[in-house]
Symmetry: C2
Subunit: 189 residues, 2 copies
């Protein structure tokens, strides 16, 4: 199967190295990995039109894949990288199978509560809310916003949580990607 | 046209009120608004299966809509609500027209730099990076991660930035939604 490799590791200084390692892992399990860099865009320049072309090229790569495997480890905050989340929604709507993994072992609810630093309170209607902003704290026993967990599950994939000894921000670690590959390939069921 | 009303205002204490106000605005412009609450889920309980059912119900609502209008104002951090971003990717892949608005007038790049509190430096290859985490700071002159700006533009919609006098966190304000409605309806071109 063709697998689109999705996640914020494109922002790493050694992004190419990490993505090539994942591509090789795909081969080990009998699949073909495509990375967000597999486009015909020769030069990355800081313009809107370049960003636009990258976005459309990445959509085109997903279109030819059967599966998307996304790193949803919280990125610069308490939630997954928004580019990765877009790709999960896109792939789900295109009927692709989507697997996701995170190196943060806290639930979505726990991460939101950490964001509020304990300043939450029950609203008397079944939800906790931030004391100051009065926003609902989702408590569906999920790993991310419900759209992501629901879409991934319904696509035939799953969310895998993997404890990284180096901590959740070690985006270059590829063990989570391999766990998803194992599930996809029936090595783990 | 049928419009799916997407954004983090579902988390507000007065979510129903805000969403009904947006639905009425849709009618003013000759459209039909659908909200994420327009499902047949009678009771919201804190279980995975309830979250799953909500997610699939919201996908089904988008499926019957022609247009999605999303509030991408940064939510609990420097980026849009991940549920909203998922919906943008999903709608884009389904061929819907997607409009987005934000009440934060800073670019994506400016918000990321604020996240680093000035601790960024050029990497000598055209990008700035966080000094500590060495992650690329996207600089494509866009409002969000490039997947979102590119997908919205290619769908036939646009990203609208609206200065809210009360500040960007006033998620109940509906002026940004109306600006998108005006663009959709040809009142602004």
């Amino acid at each position: 199967m063709k697998i689109y490799i999705s996640g914020p590791e494109v922002f790493l200084e050694n992004a190419v190295e990490v993505l090539e390692a994942k591509r090789k892992l795909c081969e080990v399990y009998g699949h073909e990995g495509l990375t967000p860099f597999d486009t015909n865009i020769e030069e990355i320049v800081p313009t809107w039109s370049c960003g636009y072309r990258i976005g459309l090229a990445n959509e085109a790569l997903m279109n030819v894949c059967d599966v998307v495997i996304s790193n949803i480890t919280p990125f610069r905050g308490i939630s997954a990288d928004p580019g990765t989340v877009y790709e999960i929604g896109y792939a789900r709507a295109k009927g692709k199978r989507v697997f996701a993994y995170s190196y943060d072992t806290r639930s979505h609810e726990e991460r939101i509560k950490a964001y509020y630093g304990g300043k939450t309170e029950p609203d008397g209607k079944g939800f906790e809310r931030g004391v100051e902003d009065r926003l609902t704290i989702e408590n569906f026993k999920m790993w991310e916003n419900l759209m992501i967990d629901a879409g991934v599950a319904e696509s035939g994939g799953s969310v895998q949580i993997v404890l990284n000894p180096k901590g959740p921000s070690d985006f270059g670690w590829i063990a989570g990607f391999e766990i998803c590959l194992k599930h996809l390939s029936g090595v783990i069921v």
